[in-house]
Symmetry: C2
């Protein structure tokens, strides 16, 4: 009775634990969700096929599921472009607030993955001027707002 959903990201055994770590994992505690957020935040990817071609090889049904879930969680919104074919997805403020988490993840991986693809300059900025870096990225994300103008979401 507690779950109508089918997946781990939305239903760790559905217990009412309000531990903050648990709460977060209900939203993005799976292998794909944060990759979509990453694409929206750091790469210029914002359409369905952008995500599909992102390189890690997500399956189409999983992608559709995760996008719907992120929408329901209030982390992304979908804009249907009136003229162009294809929807664009965008991070909401709640989604943009995942930025500090991603920055820490990047710092950790840069430290422990000997073959990391994280640019050195970027990692240095994470350590030395995180606040400024954060503001810059947030500004860039907001700037992307106007491209298709129409808002339409579930």
């Amino acid at each position: 009775m507690k779950s109508k959903s089918t997946s781990p990201a939305e239903a760790l055994p559905g217990r009412p634990s309000h531990c903050p770590i648990h709460f977060a994992l209900e939203t993005f505690g799976d292998a794909w969700t944060l990759l979509i957020v990453r694409d929206l935040m750091f790469k210029e990817r914002s359409t369905y096929t952008d995500f599909l071609r992102a390189g890690e090889g997500i399956a189409t049904n999983i992608l559709a599921d995760r996008l719907a879930r992120l929408g329901r969680a209030g982390i992304i919104t979908r804009e249907r472009a009136g003229d162009r074919p294809g929807s664009h997805y965008r991070l909401t403020p709640k989604g943009i607030d995942l930025l500090p988490i991603l920055l820490e993840i990047i710092a950790w991986s840069a430290k422990y993955d000997p073959d990391t693809a994280a640019p050195r300059a970027f990692v240095r900025r994470v350590h030395r001027e995180r606040a400024a870096l954060g503001r810059e990225i947030r500004r860039a994300l907001r700037g992307r707002k106007q491209s298709a103008t129409k808002e339409m979401n579930s």
Copy 2:
């Protein structure tokens, strides 16, 4: 050819993407791994049965799998207590370095979960004096090396 392993946390479709987000998700991109890290970091839990009783209801085989995986990833070590029954698990420096990520997750969840169980004072410290808070927790973790004696809870 691409995978010998069996799980999402260890094998996002095994591609050689060295994207730092991807790298991190290979290690802890599932619903349970970070809960174990949380138990080791913020709660006093360090034994197999401690984790089992942690409240979220992890299955025993999954727990065994995640502990083995965390060990292989160099995030925890196991100490067999010579006299006491039961092994104790402990975070390595690599594991302790996950702290900033967890702190940001806690901050995010505290902001967006209206029923969060995160203590206000703790969240305030995350925002206002993260460095000092980090040092304090690290010190406490190192202090636990000898055996379970200290307090420190969320």
